[in-house]
Symmetry: C2
Subunit: 335 residues, 2 copies
DNA sequence: ATGAAAGCGCTAACAA
DNA sequence: TTGTTAGCGCTTTCAT
């Protein structure tokens, strides 16, 4: 049996209240302080935070719900977030829903039962109803990556459209006119935004939008590979390809390698979020990088503002962060 | 205010005991069942698992303590583990200690306070005392990757020495004699084991062990790069290099690329745990892969055996798993 | 099958 | 500064 405050009380002759107060940073007489410390040490006492939570009605726990844990995008954000939250005493319960909307809903319920004080979520289906209920119960929710339609909620988003515009603009300025894009699934927020950015750039540079050069993938390596391969094997392949997420960029690079194409001479390629891989690729890939650490940081900030009551009843806040352009030799002037 | 069982009691006229029993799968009259279900729905009731935990003395929570969350090695294991545990009602609180022994100890204390029912840990310093105390309190602990000296504890380990032996054997059989190894820090369990395997192989093939060809890194990309570069820039460079972890393999590949060396003609290279990267590298790297999913699975199994009391008082169990050899064109006969 | 009641370990009035 | 006490929401005997 683990020791409780009662045991300390018995050992020191003090009351529970005094001990509780001391444990929570209150002032007690030096003599008592010593006695308590001594008893704590002797008993190996540690607070039972379950009991504390029941009483204070704060679990000091934040739920984190993400599509998949094996993903630098998520883990980099979460690592930062976990650290910031830990610093002020919060635990993070992480749930991975394996890209499955049913699991998403199920695990959200699971977290809710756990009396989380706040939720950070990268939505897929979104679970609008459930999230709305959480917010009604004053439990702050912060979304990452994409908003949930019909839900007015704090969120940290990346300026996808702008980032996409800038990447494609570079290709256009390098003289490319047959610029293909490998997008994510239609209807997915980030995919739509990134496609808009692509179209914005073409329009801006007066390049005709050719639907044949717009390929819709599933944000996975497989489709990045297949779609790029299909583009490259055409009679008249594009001279440049812009790939709009991390996994698909893997696939695209694979297809390019397989065809022994030299970048940028035979093909210009711009990827997305490719920091790790980029350490070993030659030439280095030019990529649009999402500011992962900053996202984690901002999420923590938003959450804390709510938790500490500072932003108690403010309207939902959405923070838009800029992506970072990382240069590389994988794109260049049309030869 | 969230609804409680009391509210259901009031609404249905039943007692708390009856409701509790029903909620926990007990039998009640059909009429009462209906009434309760209806009340639950109407009130939007969900159990308060904090209160439940206080009463049952089981938090249904497993602590997970790892060196770093941005690491496929950890996340792949954890993703599997989280899933298995979730299926039987457990949450996982994940803590990342950023390779810092001070944080490791601190976060272990944090998890202990949280009344975790079990702990999964990839140790650095190990915190032997603290872990021993946990075990005294009958809280099962499962170690991953490396044991903690002087602590008799369940663990899931990889047969590092054997894997290393096999990899180096392939190089020897291909005719290489100047085989270098990039190891981890001396004294680190996995590093020592992998180095033993290397030496085993050389001895087995009657190749003289040359200390100059044994380079000690820090298991990070930087040292993989630097040490490989240093080896390759020698007057008489090795003809083959075996790199013994994931990060260092990144670095090594980078160094090879930078020198425009062709694999396997100008250099044979065998890496470690390089699944992701390998999708885009050409030639594909030959690598030793640790069976991550299987580790996660085995950890869950060990943990559950303890939690369900099946292995209540069994002696510590250590499971040794085989690494997987993944072929690739990065090594070949000495030319 | 159902109910009454005690209590898990802690905090927070309130009183002294 | 310290102590007394009620009670957070739930489970679990023990009666009924």
């Amino acid at each position: 049996m683990a020791a409780t405050m009662k045991d300390i009380a018995r050992l020191t002759g003090l009351s529970l209240a005094t001990i509780s107060k001391y444990l929570n940073g209150g002032h007690v007489l030096p003599a008592n302080q010593q006695a308590i410390d001594q008893a704590i040490h002797q008993l190996g006492y540690t607070v039972n935070s379950v009991a504390r939570s029941l009483k204070t009605r704060r679990s000091m726990t934040i739920g984190v719900l993400i599509p998949h844990l094996e993903n630098v995008f998520s883990t980099s954000i979460i690592s930062e977030l976990e650290d910031k939250l830990h610093q002020i005493g919060y635990s993070t319960i992480i749930c991975d829903y394996h890209h499955d909307p049913a699991l998403e809903a199920e695990k959200l319920g699971f977290l809710t039962d756990r009396q989380i004080d706040g939720l950070v979520m990268m939505p897929l289906s979104g679970c609008r109803e459930a999230l709305a209920k959480l917010k009604e119960r004053q439990i702050p929710v912060v979304l990452i990556d994409r908003p949930v339609e019909g839900l007015d909620c704090d969120a940290v988003l990346v300026k996808n459209r702008k980032a996409s515009f800038q990447a494609v603009s570079r290709l256009a300025e390098a003289g490319h006119e047959r610029i293909a894009v490998i997008c994510g699934p239609q209807g997915v927020y980030t995919a739509d935004e990134r496609l808009y950015g692509y179209k914005d750039a073409l329009t801006h540079y007066r390049i005709k939008i050719d639907e044949d050069l717009i390929q819709y993938g599933h944000y996975d390596t497989e489709s990045g590979y297949t779609l790029t391969a299909r583009l490259l094997d055409r009679q008249k392949p594009p001279t440049a390809v812009f790939v709009t997420n991390h996994e698909m960029t893997y696939g695209a690079v694979l297809a390019v390698h397989e065809r022994d194409l030299l970048m940028p001479d035979q093909l210009s390629l711009i990827g997305f979020d490719h920091q790790l891989l980029n350490q070993v690729l030659r030439p280095k890939l030019a990529v649009v990088m999402q500011p992962l650490k900053q996202i984690g940081h901002t999420v923590a900030e938003l959450l804390l503002n709510r938790l500490t009551g500072r932003d108690h009843q403010c309207p939902a806040q959405v923070r838009y962060l800029d992506a970072v352009w990382q240069n590389g030799g994988s794109y260049g002037p049309l030869s």
